[in-house]
Each structure stands twice: as structure tokens, then as C-alpha cells.
Amino acid sequence: MIMENIYKPELMEIIQIQQHTSDVKSMRVKFADPERAKNFSFKVGQFGIFSAFGHGESTFNICSSSDWKDFIEFCFRRTGRVTEAFWQLEEGDTIGFRGPYGNAYPMKEWEGKDLMFIGGGIAMPPIRCAIWYALEHREKYGDITIIYGARTVGDLVFRDELAEWAKRPKTRVIQTVDPGGETPDWKGEIGFVPTVVEKAGLTPKNAAALVIGPPIMIKFTLPILAKMGLTDKDIYTSLENRMKCGVGKCGRCNAGPVYICKEGPVFTLEQVKTLPNDY
């Protein structure tokens, strides 16, 4: 009998690649084993550990909706050895997948609430899965506000979907770029995300917010959300840390007492405030 091996990935085939910026791509992958494809499920917010065989593994949030069958998607920036290997792959190539790991966004608890999705740069993908889930269960959620910014127009990802989301009922999408990052035909906002959040003049009732982005963006966005009446229990984020095993054994990803891979990566601001500066 073959030994159960928690470190062995499952094979997946790349069925679509989308290039978003000069160094960001997303991939749509499906299980090589159709039986596995049928019985696989995950919850939005969870992550996977993806293999580029011969180079190593990397951790990415599963950025597609959990309702979409037959494939999952992940998005990455070309940064190091493994992401460079992914960058060179083509549709039809094989990669590995281990997961789903970690905890999930509380989509059930968020029902009935106004939702605010605030993201910066490469942090859009881990928010995208929650946005699609909410939009495809539109009647369960209140007003949806999506505020997304990047340094320049060329750094925005999933732009086609941002335009699509703006057309959905009671869904407001505000895009922004940093001052100096605009192009002559840019129609969105110009300003840092926290400024744009404030300017948006939102008056959410019974809201939850998912905020993911560079630490400085989060730091300045939080007071504005507090002014709107959100408490630390209403604000969520997804943390990241260097990972290897993803299953709570290799001892690498802990921030203080918390293993990001097992007890995260989704945390409320209340939980994050208890964590030391270790991520």
C-alpha cells in the first residue's frame, strides 16, 4: 500500500495564461486526474502551494471563486527562481499543486453586510476570489465597494474584470493610481488608496472590509475605516510569510505564536493586532 504523503503534489495542467503587467501573470489550471477534479473543493481565502518541478514550490492564494468548477487560478509576480520558472511555462505544461491550505474568508458571516474590498497592487488577486463569490451570490450581500490602486496604470491587474464588476448591481468600483502613475487617457482616480477611500464618502451600514496591500497602505487606511464605524472585528486581511510545508510542521511561517499556514492566512484586524512584528 502506498504511504500517504502530505508533501506530494497533484499534477495540474495549465489551460490558460493571462499576462497582466510586465511582471505579473495569472494561470488557470485543472487537475490532470478528472476524478480529483470532480471531488476537489476549497473555500475562498485559502491558498495552495504550487510546484514548478525542478525548481521548487511557491505559495499563492487561490484567486478564483470556489463556485467555479473544473479549474482554479493563481496569480504571481516574477520575482525569484520558482516564479521565473512559472513565467517560462506555456498552456499545456504541467505544474504541481498541494492544498487547499489555511483558513477562509467568512463569506457566511458576511451575508447581509455591506462589503468593502480595498486592495493595492499585487494584492488584488487574493481579494478577487471573494469579490467574484459575493457578486455571484449578489442577493446575499449589501452594497459592495471595490477600491483598488496601484503605483501606475501598468501595474493594475485584472483590469477587464474591474470594468465588469462596475456594471454589477449596487457595486461601486473605484480605481486609482499614485500621483504620477496616470496615463493621458486615465479616467480613474489619482491618489493613494487611503486618500481615495476617504474621498469616496462611504457610509456603510453593518459593514465588513477586506483590506490587503502593502503595510503602509493598510496603516493609513485603517483610521479611515474606523471613522466609518468599522471595528477591528469587522476588518479582515490576508497575511503572508515565507512558507515551505504549508501544513504547520517546518517551523518557518510563524508570526509570534501563530502559524500563518495553519491558523491563517485570513485574520481580523483584532487578531493581527495581537501578533508581534514577525511577518
Binding site: 521548487g56 525569484g80 527562481r81 521565473e84
Partner: protein
Amino acid sequence: MIQDELRQLCRRLLEDGTVQVVIGYGQSSDDGPTYPVFVTDAADVDRLVWNDQCFANLTTYLKRKEVKALGKPAIIVKGCDERALAVLEKESQIDRTQMVVIGVACEGVGQPREPKCAACDVHMPRFSDHVLGQAANTPVEADRRYADLEAFMKRSPAERMAYWMNELSRCFKCYACRATCPMCYCERCIVDKNRPQAIDTSPTLKGNFAWHIARAFHLAGRCVGCDECTRVCPAGIDLRLLNMSLAKAAEDEFGYRAGVDREAEPIIGSYSLKDKESFIR
């Protein structure tokens, strides 16, 4: 007594602000081991000791950013450690004007004495700013210097290979050898690079051979023979033999011994028209 002189000197250097930290040896009990200490307060100089248990080559701390942050150091060196300073200086890693070097005359360390002490010709420090104690630097014949290596080289190649396979099979890649060596100051060691992964990180025979041979070659003409790598290896691997073979090659081919002549140009970093070319075939 050297220890008292040392403490007085360090008290003075700290009190008058000449240095902000003394990098020296401490000892928590008379019969216990010594260990590196960093004294920043003149009132604490009695923490400093000097005896024949002062093994560590403290010059390895000059590269550590946590130590650099303490300010201008005074550093205590034995003759072998002082050779490391000469190499670091020539490799532009230290600025001698930004430190005070306290050399201590040394009759040898360890009971029984470490193997390196039997062939030492630098008992008395030669380039320090202060020197404590007295000792004689009697020249040592090269064949005494490399006696252990020459004895080893009498074995057949097959025997020598079997020896290294046995030694290196015990290595588990703790990198204590690298951490303790003053010459291993690369901000990112070759084994920690992965594009490409030139050296397997695994503690397999392949990974261990690659690591130790690479490190020995990176020390060619630079290793001063302080033998700290050998002393600290938890697996008791005979690293000094490896390093010695390249040190002997440097002396045989180029008449060069790392850190002996403070003015000599490093052999890897310079050339001379007089260099032998007999090994180019």
C-alpha cells in the same frame, strides 16, 4: 599578569572614549570554557579574561552588523588571529584606523595544546596597536608546518578518498565552520544562492563534498590556519587537512602565507611576472 594589564588597558580605552566596545574573552567560572564577550562599560572590564582556553578567533565578529552597531571596537587577538586581520585589511574588509588591536603573546591554547600550536611562528603579535606579554617568534620549517598533511599524503589516492568519504559523510551542513571563519564574510554565501543552485544544500555525500571543497577553494591563499573551523565542527571533521593542502599549495607555488606579511598582496588578487606557470600544461 597579562590579564590584569589587559583589564587596565581596556578600562582606559573605554573610559576615555577611544573605543565604544571591547571584543574579548569572558569566562563564567575558572574551570569553565571561555566565550566571546562585548564589553561596552568600563566598569565591566573584569569580565575580560586571558588564559590558554581563549580559543575563539574574535576577528570573525568584525563583519557582524550587530557588533558593528556597537561602535569603534578594541579587539583582542592572538598571533594567529592577527594574521586574519592582515588578510581582512588587504581585502578591504576592515579599516585599521577604525579599531584598536590589542595583541596578546600566546604560548598556545588548549590542554593538550591544539595541533596548530606546535608549528606556530607568531606567538608574539606583530602588527597590533598594543602588545601584552612577551614571546619569541622562532621561525618554523615548512615541513613542520605541513607535517600532518605530508603524513596523510603518503596514503594512496583510494585510501585518501575513503577517508574523506567517511569524514564528510558525518557533515550535516550546520555551517559552524563558515560562521566561525573570519574569511567567510560573503553577504550571501554561494550555498545560499539558488540561481543557479551551484552547491546542493542537502547533507548528502554530493552536497557535503561540494560544500567543503568549494569552501576550501574559496579560502585558498586566504586561510590563516587558525583551525577554529575544525575545533567547532560538531561532527569532528578534519577540516584543517583540507585547508592546509591549499595553504601548502600557496606556499609551494607562490611563496605566500596568508596574513604573515602585512604588506604582501593577496595571491588571488594580484599577479607577478615572476609567478610560476609550471602547473599550466
